[in-house]
């Protein structure tokens, strides 16, 4: 066991994978001498050399496209996209090539690529540095999409992502990079596609992932004062989604709130609300509620608190599903 920040835990996972499998290699902008802008790959070029920790030309389509080519010859590239908003130049390579190659070739070509993406807001950054693009990728068949919320998962999940024979988009909650936690380097992890009950409760199921798991846990702690018991689920995997775990929780609580930073429309909250309504309609005491970013471009940083779901907005939605007074009561929503 050692205490690590979330970013160092990912670095430790990368290091272990590099040690264990000489076909693992890292590619990205500024990941070498600089160690990445968040220092996740700090020291790795030094220890594994520039053949395995490759600073690449500044071109995301180029990085992902060439990584696919390397995967054709049996390599397992781990690509770093410097910030969420810079993944779009690679969108075509990811969606039209990476995601479809296995199916296109009748399973003959495996593309075990991992694409690491620091994502989400809350760090006071300029435009394109705070986005949550997970829904695009969760919507794309052929990609696995995961995100971690704590150092232990960060360590285990990056290793599982690299081991997976499918392409994995690995979203890293950048505002939680500096969160510390105990990491057991030899822990037997949950399967990559499984959700985790982060806190047990009986009144409301609160589903969160990535950066908002900590916010959800804070909300649950605050709700205790109001006499409410919230069960927090850390989704971890966004494709596939572990609906069994969510369903079991909702059958118990009868109420569902989903929160994510990404915009609401066409987002994962909609998918979860629809699927859970489908699976356990008669257990639901209220319509599922979503607390999400708005359907707007990420605002300038001085206004990001008016975009990001926070404890108060989550508890307002909890009040709504509980039939208590809430911000929408005057319109008769309760």
């Amino acid at each position: 066991m050692s205490e690590l920040t979330l970013s160092k835990a990912i670095g430790a996972g990368l290091r272990r994978s590099l040690e264990e499998n000489d076909h693992v290699l890292l590619m990205g902008e500024d990941i070498g001498a600089l160690g990445g802008v968040f220092r996740v790959t700090d020291g790795l070029k030094n220890d594994f050399g520039p053949e395995r920790v490759m600073d690449t030309p500044l071109a995301e389509a180029g990085i992902v496209g060439t990584a696919i080519g390397m995967a054709f010859r049996g390599y397992r590239p781990v690509v770093e996209i410097q910030f969420d908003g810079f993944i779009y130049p690679a969108f075509d390579q990811i969606v039209a090539q990476l995601a479809k190659l296995h199916a296109r070739t009748g399973g003959k070509v495996r593309v075990p690529l991992t694409i690491r993406v620091p994502y989400g807001g809350g760090i006071g950054a300029v435009e394109h540095h705070s986005e949550s693009p997970e829904a695009y990728f969760a919507h794309t068949a052929g990609l696995r999409v995961v995100t971690c919320s704590n150092p232990q998962d960060a360590y285990s999940m990056i290793r599982q992502a690299i081991d997976s024979d499918d392409p994995v988009i690995f979203f890293e909650p950048k505002r939680r990079y500096w969160v510390k936690g105990e990491v057991d380097l030899d822990a037997v992890p949950l399967p990559l596609g499984k959700a985790r009950v982060a806190l047990e409760g009986t009144d409301v199921t609160l589903v969160a992932y990535g950066p908002l798991v900590a916010t959800a846990l804070d909300a649950a702690a605050a709700a205790v004062d109001d006499g409410l018991s919230i069960e927090v689920i850390d989704l971890r995997s966004l494709s596939p989604i572990d609906f069994d775990t969510v369903e079991a929780s909702v059958r118990k609580t009868g109420r569902l709130v989903i929160t994510h930073e990404a915009a609401q429309s066409g987002g994962l909250g909609a998918e979860i609300a629809a699927s859970i309504t489908d699976r356990c309609f008669f257990s639901l005491e209220a319509a599922p509620a979503r607390v999400t970013g708005f359907d707007i471009p990420y605002p300038p940083s001085r206004l990001e608190e008016h975009f990001l779901p926070d404890l108060d907005r989550i508890l307002d939605a909890v009040d709504r599903v509980m039939g208590r007074e809430n911000s929408l009561t005057p319109w008769g929503a309760s």
């Binding site: 902008e29 500024d30 070498g32 001498a33 600089l34 160690g35 802008v37 050399g49 520039p50 053949e51 490759m54 600073d55 690449t56 030309p57 500044l58 071109a59 389509a61 180029g62 908003g85 810079f86 779009y88 130049p89 006071g124 950054a125 300029v126 435009e127 394109h128 609401q264 429309s265 708005f294 359907d295 707007i296 471009p297 605002p299 300038p300 940083s301 001085r302 206004l303 008016h306 975009f307 108060d312 907005r313 307002d316 809430n326 911000s327 929408l328 005057p330 319109w331």
Partner: protein
């Protein structure tokens, strides 16, 4: 002027590792670099270029010198403001003053610039209000100014995207039968992206009146230019059918001459030109960066000797044009600009919360209207609760 590709000094890329490390890279020969004013401040004759800057007398050069001094002062002030927590971030252009001012001052009012985030000196020359330089970096807006007011689009943070916009703008100018020119500013790193390469193809195919102005400041964050290009960047353009020039980017006279040549070609129907201004990023990538992790100090010191301001100062001194009065006037003006810049910054207020919903669409959008209404209700509800 390059119209065809010369034989490369070919680097040994029959490589052991598949990785280009800086130590493996060829040094790009410098003899074809256009330079009219040496680092020592000595003016050399270059008939092909001299005729383009005949009007730049000592007086005119003093004014360009003043621009450079002021812009450097703005950079220093902005960095201080960031350190004091008044700005979230700043991307200094320290060392690139001549490249930006030499090119931007050559433009006409009806020309249009498309830049990235580091071109604060270009914006300054286009007449931006100081406060408008600050909004993005203070985090109060996603862009600073009205592009149509100063003939300059707001900066693209997505590397290289603006090169296509400049090309499209130029194609439209041509369609409209006007002789305005579009200029795209971008870095050496940007030349690796697809967009600038596609932009050159479009510009050549449509004979667009556009200038591709690449500031090769040797770095893309921590990556040396050798990772983006194993030959000079200017060598690439002729392959696309775009003639190119490689100039000393720290020499404001060379930059001015090259830009004027390109402008003249564009206005007279000759199509696009690529200019590589060879310079150096003397500051960090941004205020968040730590160059000590990757930069070679000796190289940095070498470039410090080639400072763009110092050489003009030396030249003007030998010409007797930098009198104590002129120096005092410039110092006073840059003090005033710095003071105005600082107060504009600290006085910049946060926008209204509900403004996050503004201007997303040009026409009403029912889904968004509902979110705005609900959030307004939420804000007043929360306010009521805490009252």
């Amino acid at each position: 002027m390059r119209t065809s590709v010369s034989e490369p000094e070919s680097p040994d890329l029959t490589d052991k590792s598949g990785v280009v490390d800086k130590s493996d890279l060829v040094t790009i020969p410098n003899e074809d670099l256009v330079q009219l004013l040496s680092p020592e401040g000595v003016r050399s004759d270059q008939p092909d270029y001299d005729s383009w800057i005949e009007d730049i007398t000592s007086d005119r050069l003093v004014s360009l010198y003043e621009d450079m001094v002021i812009v450097r002062r703005i950079d220093v002030e902005a960095t201080a403001l960031q350190r004091q927590g008044e700005l979230a971030l700043w991307a200094p252009l320290l060392g690139q003053e001549a490249a930006q001012i030499g090119s931007a001052r050559a433009l006409r009012k009806d020309d249009f610039a498309f830049s990235s985030y580091r071109e604060n000196a270009v914006a300054y020359c286009r007449g931006v209000k100081l406060v408008d330089l600050l909004r993005v970096w203070r985090g109060t807006a996603n862009s600073g100014w009205n592009p149509y007011e100063i003939g300059m689009a707001t900066p693209a943070v997505i590397i290289g995207a603006q090169t296509l916009h400049a090309t499209g703008y130029a194609i439209a100018c041509k369609k409209d039968g006007v002789d305005s020119v579009a200029i795209a500013y971008f870095g050496d790193g940007a030349t690796s992206q697809g967009d600038p390469n596609e932009a050159m193809i479009f510009a050549a195919s449509f004979n667009a009146p556009v200038i591709f102005f690449c500031q090769n400041n040797q770095w893309a964050i921590s990556e040396p230019v050798g990772l983006q290009a194993v030959r000079s960047i200017a060598d690439r353009a002729p392959g696309f059918g775009v003639p190119s020039m490689r100039v000393d980017g720290n020499d404001i006279l060379a930059v001015t001459a090259a830009t004027r040549i390109a402008l003249d070609r564009a206005r007279s129907g000759g199509g696009p030109t690529f200019i590589e201004a060879v310079t150096y990023r003397m500051g960090p990538h941004t205020t968040s960066d730590d160059p000590s992790r990757y930069e070679d100090r000796a190289e940095h010191e070498e470039w410090a000797m080639k400072d763009p301001i110092l050489r003009v100062e030396r030249y003007l001194e030998t010409e007797g044009a930098l009198t104590p009065e002129v120096r005092a006037a410039i110092a006073a003006k840059s003090d005033a600009v710095a003071a105005e810049f600082r107060s504009a910054c600290v006085e910049l207020e946060n926008p209204e919360p509900l403004s996050v919903f503004d201007n997303i669409y040009a026409e009403p959008h029912t889904g968004l209207d509902r979110q705005k209404r609900d959030y307004a209700a939420y804000l007043s509800y929360i306010e009521g609760e805490t009252r």
